[in-house]
């Protein structure tokens, strides 16, 4: 009797289990469809004829803009890789004065939107800027014809700004990866006589490659889609061509076609990078929890070099622009008491919190599905859902506009037909469309972080927990959640900062009379009144600094957790697993 009851119960449980399984699969597919809808719309917009535009584009526009884009991407990747990986390695593996401080401060450029830094550098380096004015005063020059000075509005200027603004993406992922690389691997390598350089190039760097690739691809996609900074510097990239084709050649179809080609190239590159290491699986073991990494202690000239190397990007990517903004904002200090500014700050804050939370939930669902159902489908869904990042901002915003407006219209008609009330367009009128836009745009950021977070938890932990009688939910709650929490908070903060800075979708999809900090900055610059942009820009930076510092503290705490002897689940901590299982 008892036996049959037990049997029934277990049958029921397994049925429920399957239902849960299917529910997650359905949810993941649904979320992916919703997230990819705007990109599909862009592809739909690209169908049709762009008139005689392609002939003109191919002969007179694209050769140059493709070349400019390649130069920009190549230059920026060199900068972000050298700065990002270099600083991450120094801060993680070396001991030198100020290391802790650098660890936090290296993330600061994340708080400043690219277009603001671009504007600051033009202000600093052009003829009437501080640098040239000082130079003239010191050297006794009268006009710009008396001396040579590099033109800041150039490809070089654009690469410089992109590099020093975007390196934190690489720094963040490389740093997380270096921290997670168990001391064992590195210790073994050192015991075998590897020099610091060899250790870096032969062991640490290859192990960190997936993480670095994720960080770099985010940074480069941002660079590829940037329109504000490149316009400022007069660099005609593909994004510039997309907007030009839409607005001056009056062909949204043609613009969408170029955007689609860009999208496919980006996807192909990501696929190549994944394909190149498809044979490898990387797991970080938790077994080294008791051991702290033995860093190299730097002395003498090395110490100073390391400090200089870490200080430079902070100074250039954050310090100088922030000082300039501050000095401009002080001139307009009465703007501080403008209620519109505080309303905009509140709007930005609320929107960014909601946007980031939604992006986290969607990413969590998709990455959890991929974790529990590894296979081509779940992997495909995750990738597909995060391609919104690879489409130029305003084009994506138009792609969001059409499906949202269609849904909005059917809602409005539904209410009109059934209840006789005219609601107007609720989604666009309420700002819900903005939240949707943020999720679509920044899912790549959150999903990338969470997926790699799940990837670092060895499946043997799940198996062990299962053997110890944990249910699925128990595994999630008692194994995944504690191990993931630093990743979740860092993904959340990163998404928050991105939402704060987001401009093109906010501008186009916002409700009436609605301003965020980013749109306030933009409306000032649209009038060519850059001075008026200083105060709201400073606000973006100030609000952005808080999560960035929190983000830095999370990674440090994560590091300390790893290096302390505290273990998460004593019963599981003894599980051993290979550091890097080849060809799983």
């Amino acid at each position: 009797m008892l036996n049959t009851i037990c049997c029934r119960v277990s049958l029921l449980l397994s049925a429920f289990h399957h239902r849960g399984e299917r529910a997650i699969a359905l949810l993941s597919i649904l979320l992916t469809v919703i997230a990819v809808l705007p990109v599909l719309t862009v592809i739909y917009l690209a169908i049709g004829s762009a008139g005689d535009n392609w002939h003109h584009l191919l002969s007179s526009v694209l050769p140059q803009s493709v070349w400019a884009t390649l130069q920009l991407l190549a230059g920026t990747s060199i900068l972000i890789l050298v700065i990002g990986v270099g600083c991450a390695w120094l801060v993680t593996m070396c001991r030198f004065p100020g290391r802790r401080l650098f660890d936090i401060a290296l993330l600061l450029p994340l708080a400043v939107p690219t277009y603001i830094i671009a504007f600051s550098y033009v202000e600093l380096f052009d003829y009437t800027g501080v640098i040239q004015s000082t130079l003239r005063a010191v050297m006794g020059f009268k006009t710009s014809r008396d001396y040579w000075f590099p033109e800041v509005r150039s490809m070089g200027g654009a690469i410089f700004v992109m590099g020093f603004v975007l390196y934190p993406y690489v720094y963040l992922s490389a740093r997380a990866s270096f921290i997670a690389q168990s001391a064992c691997t590195l210790d073994v390598s050192r015991t075998l006589g590897a020099s610091p350089l060899r250790l870096f190039f032969r062991v640490a760097l290859p192990l960190a490659r997936p993480a670095i690739a994720v960080g770099a691809s985010l940074a480069l996609m941002e660079c590829l889609n940037d329109i504000g900074a490149v316009t400022f510097f007069g660099v005609k990239t593909l994004s510039f061509t997309v907007y030009d084709t839409w607005l001056n050649r009056s062909s949204l179809t043609g613009a969408a076609q170029i955007a689609c080609v860009m999208l496919f190239v980006v996807l192909a590159l990501i696929w190549l990078e994944n394909h190149a290491r498809r044979q490898q699986r990387f797991y970080q073991s938790n077994t080294s929890a008791g051991k702290a990494l033995q860093g190299y202690t730097l002395r003498g000239v090395h110490k100073w070099l390391a400090m200089g190397f870490c200080a430079l990007p902070i100074l250039l990517g954050f310090g100088l622009p922030a000082i300039l903004l501050l000095s401009r904002a002080i001139r307009r200090h009465e703007g501080l008491f403008n209620p519109a500014l505080w309303q905009a700050a509140q709007n930005s804050l609320v929107l960014a919190i909601i946007g980031a939370s939604c992006a986290i939930f969607v990413a969590l669902a998709l990455s959890y599905y991929r974790r529990t159902n590894p296979g081509p489908l779940s992997q495909f869904l995750g990738r597909l859902a995060s391609i919104g990042y690879a489409v130029p901002g305003t084009i994506l915003a138009v792609g969001i506009l059409f499906p949202v407006a269609a849904l909005d219209n059917s809602l409005a008609n539904f209410f009109k037909l059934n209840f006789g009330i005219s609601t107007g367009l609720i989604l666009l009128g309420s700002g819900t469309a903005l939240v949707y836009a943020y999720v679509v745009r920044f899912l790549a950021v959150t999903y990338g972080q969470l997926d790699s977070g799940f990837g670092k938890i060895s499946p043997s932990l799940d198996m062990a927990a299962q053997t110890l009688g944990q249910s699925r939910f128990g595994i999630f709650r008692r194994v995944h959640v504690p191990l993931l929490s630093p990743v979740v908070s860092s993904a959340c903060l990163l998404a928050f900062v991105e939402c704060m800075k987001e401009l093109p979708a906010t501008l186009l999809l916002r409700p009436f009379n609605f301003e965020s900090l980013a749109t306030t900055v933009y409306t000032a610059t649209a009038r060519e009144a850059y001075e008026d942009a200083a105060m709201p820009a400073l606000f973006i930076v100030l609000v952005g600094i808080i999560p960035v510092v929190m983000l830095a503290r999370t990674t440090i705490r994560n590091y300390r957790d790893k290096t302390s002897s505290r273990s998460l689940m004593p019963s599981l901590a003894t599980t051993r697993n290979p550091q890097m299982a080849q060809g799983q």
Binding site: A23, Y243, G431, L507
Partner: protein, 352 residues
């Protein structure tokens, strides 16, 4: 079990979305009379006008500002679109909106009386509100002549002395389109190549940056819109801009023949305007002498209303004789102009 968790997540997500709805959704059911504006013009520039409009009629204006995509937004929103009027800074956007089919023709005798025919759409889909002249800023110290023509910019005497913003900017495209209208495509191409080779540097920066470049001694003349002069001359917060402005004077090109090229900022009535009556009131108001004088006094633009005077400051720059070529013809030639800019590689700067 996991299903519970996912349900929780979705619930929370929907809760958050609903929360955002609660925060930003302002119901339009209030008794207040309203008019909804989609604007390509910066809100600060139209605010004095909207305030005056509200004072006169009691109608409150709601504004969404964006630099691109608003016509597409009206298109996507379809019949339920809340937009009543579309304000633009350039003829191109007006025609773009017309082509997308998001405007409706308006045949209003009062507006037709106030706005000259060459600044109106023949079908009544849009009309101009202000004109902005594309003029030449010349260094007070280094340029002695008092007259200039656009054609003259191709003269080798200007070699290494001209600055301008990107050829793909709407203002540049308008000017090049007017050259095509007067001289044809081939002539304009030759002219554009010659101007390119006279440039002192690659076209970058905005109109103010060009004046700054003259101040810096990088070039002697620059193309720019007139109203930036007013903005710089009256900039109390950043007095260094007054110095830039003081280093230049304005020359009105082609004053002795066809006149200087002007572009318009304009307005169109949205196809499904829900507050059509209020929208028409607003459009009539913007064309009225009162609104036209606000434009002139506060934005340093030229009113389109014949007889309405430009502000004293604007008059102090000299007399504008506007080119009377039909503005919709300029609009039609924009694409050709944009293509010429690419073909001659104008934005790459001097070829030799």
């Amino acid at each position: 079990m996991p299903i519970t968790f996912d349900r929780l997540k979705t619930t929370v997500a929907f809760g958050l979305a609903a929360m955002s709805a609660g925060i930003f959704y302002h119901t339009s059911a209030s008794a207040q009379e309203e008019v909804n504006i989609y604007s390509y013009r910066a809100p600060e520039l139209i605010k004095p006008l909207l305030d005056a409009f509200q004072k006169e009629t009691g109608i409150k204006s709601n504004v969404v500002f964006a630099s691109k995509g608003l016509a597409e937004r009206i298109k996507a929103e379809g019949e339920n679109s809340p937009a009543d009027v579309l304000l633009t800074v350039d003829i191109g956007r007006l025609q773009g909106a017309e082509e997308l089919g998001v405007t409706q023709p308006l045949n209003d005798p009062e507006i037709n009386k106030h706005i000259p025919a060459n600044l109106r759409d023949p079908d009544g889909n849009w009309f101009g509100l202000t004109t902005r002249a594309r003029v030449i800023y010349a260094s007070r110290d280094r340029v002695k002549q008092d007259k200039v023509t656009y054609e003259e910019l191709a003269d080798p005497k200007w070699k290494g002395r001209i600055c301008t913003r990107s050829g793909q900017h709407v203002y540049s495209i308008g000017l090049i389109a007017s050259m095509i209208a007067h001289h044809g495509e081939d002539e304009t191409k030759k002219w554009l190549e010659a101007v390119r080779d006279n440039l002192a540097r690659k076209p970058t920066g905005n109109d103010r940056a060009q004046v700054k470049a003259i101040f810096a001694g990088e070039c002697d003349i620059a193309l720019g819109n007139t109203y930036y002069m007013g903005k710089m001359q009256t900039n109390e917060k950043d007095p260094e801009q007054k110095e830039w402005a003081a280093s230049v004077r304005i020359l009105f090109p082609n004053s002795d023949d066809r006149g200087s090229h002007v572009n318009i900022s304009g307005v169109a009535l949205a196809k499904y305007a829900p507050h059509k009556e209020n929208a028409i009131k607003l459009m009539e108001f913007l064309a009225s002498p009162e609104a036209q004088s606000i434009y002139a006094a506060q934005n340093f633009e030229y009113p389109v209303l014949p007889g309405a005077k430009a502000s004293e400051r604007v008059q102090s720059w000299g007399n504008l004789k506007p080119d009377t070529v039909a503005i919709d013809q300029i609009g039609d030639l924009r694409k050709k102009a944009s293509q010429l800019v690419d073909i001659v590689g104008f934005d790459n700067g001097p070829a030799n």
